[in-house]
């Protein structure tokens, strides 16, 4: 199966300067691709160029064999790309139910809305259970689940999830990762950004490491998890197989030395 989404030489940034300096990344259909990297590497910025919140300065974003680089957020939603941003994104003073309905804002077909609501309620019981509660009164974990539930109202092909497990307790975190697995079982494609790299890579078929504005390393989720250098640099603490050499010298290899080991294809 070919790539559903591909970024080719994407350069983007804000007033202060460039953040992405030529990002190449491809996301295969019905898989979870997990993007990891240090704070400020530009992971959220990558997602913004995919959802259309930020227009790249150069490079192209292709989705479903179509160049979508210059399309608006609205047009990308129509093509089935939804973005759950890093910050809380529910409307706090609206009910859970209205929040979910907002997910179908661009959908005019009432029959479709009704049938998707039924699906959402079945997949995410909390939507029914707390339907009249104000979204702002839910816990952080509950809010995240409702945010993910809301994306389903668009029947999306590609879901962009920006650090969905941040600030959650272990149980809610597990629930979020289980939900992500469910999504791909239902045929959705997920591009996941995770600070919690170990759990993120564990649910991912494919992983990529962003650093210095470029994708430094790509591979299957498992291969990145097993890579001792990746473990030391990005997964923190103890890796499954720790590099004896670097432990002996007590010197961490510089991030740049990774590229000497493995080049992205």
């Amino acid at each position: 199966m070919g790539a559903l989404l591909s970024l080719d030489g994407v350069v983007a940034g804000y007033n202060q300067g460039l953040v992405l300096k030529g990002v190449n990344l491809s996301v295969d259909a019905s898989e979870v691709t997990c993007l990891i990297g240090p704070n400020g590497a530009g992971k959220s910025t990558v997602l913004k160029t995919v959802s259309g919140l930020l227009k790249p300065i150069s490079g192209t974003v292709c989705f479903d064999s179509e160049d979508i680089t210059s399309l608006s957020t609205h047009e990308r939603l129509r093509r089935g790309i939804v973005h759950v941003p890093q910050d809380r994104s529910l409307f706090p003073a609206m009910t859970v139910w209205d929040n979910v309905l907002m997910g179908a804002h661009i959908v005019r077909d009432h029959a479709a809305i009704r049938s998707r609501l039924a699906t959402v309620v079945e997949m995410f019981p909390i939507v029914e259970r707390r339907r009249q509660a104000h979204a702002g009164s839910l816990s952080g974990g509950e809010q995240k689940i409702v945010e993910i539930a809301r994306t389903m109202m668009l029947d999306p092909k590609l879901i962009l999830l920006d650090e969905p497990s941040i600030g959650l307790d272990p149980r809610s975190r597990r629930l979020v990762f289980d939900t992500i697995r469910e999504l791909t079982k239902a045929g959705r494609t997920v591009l996941l950004v995770e600070q919690n790299a170990r759990s993120g890579l564990a649910v991912a078929q494919h992983g990529a490491i962003l650093e210095g504005g470029v994708v430094k390393l790509e591979g299957t989720g498992l291969s990145l998890l097993d890579d001792p250098l990746v473990a030391q640099l990005y997964l923190g603490a103890v890796a499954p197989t720790t590099s004896v050499a670097s432990r002996a010298t007590g010197v961490l290899p510089s991030p740049n030395s990774i590229s000497a080991l493995k080049e992205p294809q």
Partner: protein
């Protein structure tokens, strides 16, 4: 006792009209974070329009709203599209100056088009009144109150039950997130601004029936409206309605039982008291910006 109850009745009826004016302002603040200091000028503009429609074509002021509301909607929409849309978030303070300039512009145009002498709309029924259980009720004030109530309920239903209303509330509560769901925030803001201005059309017709006015009347009006929306907790629709009733009653009770001279001061006295004891207005943070 009779005087007190009588003045409370008048206060509630007046408060209903204040509520209508304050609601427009609250809506505009909600969608744009703009304190619309031109809301008073828009009300006076609408009062003149209704007055002219009555004197030239014999159109009843209440009916004239059907004509003036679309005009003010377009005015509000245009002000947004011409001046406010260009502002970046960090320039938001400028909006206050822009709206002040709009108020002065409206005042200037009214000064050119009409003389500065006070006028009022004199329909056949303006002075009609009736007595209920010994209390005196002026017909126009009762109609004005009823109209305000109907418009407020309509606005409430629009915001809470319709797809457009949901997108307005979403934009107010989280603009980025609304955009990610396909809402066009500038469009919502422009329509919200237009709706806020359109409520001034209804308020203007009613104002012209109840009070004499001239081009400069908006200064007095806007100071009252600002007190009301501050008291209600900026951005809360329910808050501004309750604050409008509180202020209307306070003003009327003081005017009838103490002295009319102190009645406009009452506004600021109540406002100061509330700000000292409840600095965020009657409806603190929980309601702020929630619409």
């Amino acid at each position: 006792m009779h005087l007190l109850v009588q003045s409370i009745i008048v206060g509630v009826l007046t408060g209903g009209v204040y509520a209508l004016m304050a609601t427009g302002q609250t809506l505009i603040f909600g969608v744009m974070r703009v304190i619309n200091v031109a809301q008073g000028a828009m009300v006076i503009l609408a009062a003149y329009l209704s007055s002219s429609l009555f004197s030239s074509f014999g159109i009843d002021p209440f009916l004239s709203i059907l004509i003036t509301a679309p005009i003010l909607f377009v005015l509000g929409f245009t002000i947004h599209a011409t001046f406010l849309r260009r502002l970046r978030p960090e320039q938001n303070e400028l909006s206050l100056l822009i709206m002040f300039a709009v108020a002065l512009g409206i005042e200037g145009v009214l000064g050119l088009a009409y003389s500065t002498t006070y006028r009022s709309i004199q329909t056949g029924y303006v002075n009609r009144s009736f007595t209920v259980a010994g209390y005196h009720v002026a017909l126009v004030r009762l109609l004005a109150f009823g109209l305000s109530a109907v418009i407020l309920v309509g606005l409430f239903l629009l915001l809470n039950r319709s797809r457009f209303g949901r997108s307005v509330r979403a934009t107010v509560q989280n603009p980025t997130s609304a955009r990610l769901l396909g809402v066009e925030p500038t469009r919502v803001a422009a329509i919200g601004f237009g709706l806020g201005a359109a409520t001034a059309a209804a308020a203007g017709a009613v104002y012209g029936l109840v009070y004499p006015f001239n081009g400069g009347s908006h200064y007095d009006l806007i100071s009252r409206l600002l007190s009301i929306v501050m008291l209600g907790g900026l951005g809360s629709l329910g808050g501004s309605v309750i604050a409008a009733l509180v202020m209307g009653v306070a003003e009327s009770v003081v005017a009838a039982n103490v002295s009319p001279i102190w009645s406009s001061f009452t506004f600021f006295a109540v406002l100061l008291a509330v700000l000292v004891f409840r600095p965020r207005g009657l409806f603190g943070v929980a309601q702020r910006g929630a619409l």
